[in-house]
Symmetry: C2
Subunit: 178 residues, 2 copies
């Protein structure tokens, strides 16, 4: 195996996953700031979708999409289990990964690429600058759900002071008063 | 097992998956139009997130999120394989599911809940009406990628007449001319 990696949160997920597994693979750094992932030879030989990271398998094929890569690593290197040792535990992990991904991570990513990251991304992928503020608000789902949790006897752990401070800060915003 | 199901594309994915597997489970219909999934007893006993479908396991726990449910069914009922019989084939399926889900299905869903579906959803989940048009445009990624494919010697299969017709129709829109 070989990992094509770069700056950014997606490659970092795979690097942390590999480290937690104790798997060491050759690394090839991709300069996404310079657009190396959006031109040849990367798009022909690694990933036609032009995203990073990508995992080269021993048969020469390439995987992209971090959840697919992590599932593959879990299947081929089951110990220690990070997704889960049983179908039931894996199902629970996948349920929560999807909730967090769709509710928080993806809206944050699209919003970044359409605002602060626009100059870098506008000629690379489909951006929607006029929706950036609204998409950033989607990250407020975390606020909504933790607020709901507090009402149904599932409050934020009192030891998690940063989360509590964040919650109070969001709760003080005009948009959350209505 | 028991499936809580309703109208809408997400429950349909699980129903089709079960049918393709040849698995028959008791069905409980949930009236999401009337908000049955957003109040007691559903949120306390089935899914605190209030989404449908949900799969009740034999130990009494409940799964939500369709990809987690389908992965669980694949693991517990491997034949016939729908995600894949090997780690490599499952990885490829998962990679494409994520590409299609993040690039097409989710933007369509959020856009629907923020426009035509707003009256039904505005008091249930976080909606962003001002971003609906932009999010609908994200479904145009399918157009962008198939157009890119045509340029790099990966054209749409000529047998797929409906896809070709759709592509030509999108290609004729003012927004795709620039």
């Amino acid at each position: 195996m070989k990992l094509y990696t770069s700056v950014g949160p997606n490659p970092n997920v795979v690097r942390v996953f590999l480290a937690e597994k104790g798997i060491s693979v050759p690394i090839q750094k991709v300069d996404i700031m310079a657009g190396e992932n959006r031109r040849e030879p990367y798009i022909s030989t690694v990933n036609p979708h032009g995203t990073c990271p990508a995992l080269e398998l021993d048969d020469g094929t390439h995987l992209s999409q971090i959840t697919a890569i992590c599932e593959y690593l879990e299947e081929t290197h089951p110990s220690p289990p990070l997704i889960g040792p049983t179908p039931e535990q894996r199902a629970e992990t996948r349920m929560w990964v999807r909730r967090i991904d769709l509710g928080i991570c993806e809206p944050m990513g699209v919003a970044f690429r359409s605002s602060e990251g626009l100059q870098m991304f506008k000629d690379r992928i489909f951006t929607i600058p006029e929706a950036a503020d609204a998409l950033k608000n989607l990250a407020l789902m975390l606020f909504s759900f933790t607020g709901f949790g507090a009402k149904i006897n599932q409050p934020i752990n009192a030891d998690h002071q940063h989360v509590l401070t964040w919650f109070d800060r969001v709760a003080a915003r005009p948009g959350t008063q209505k």
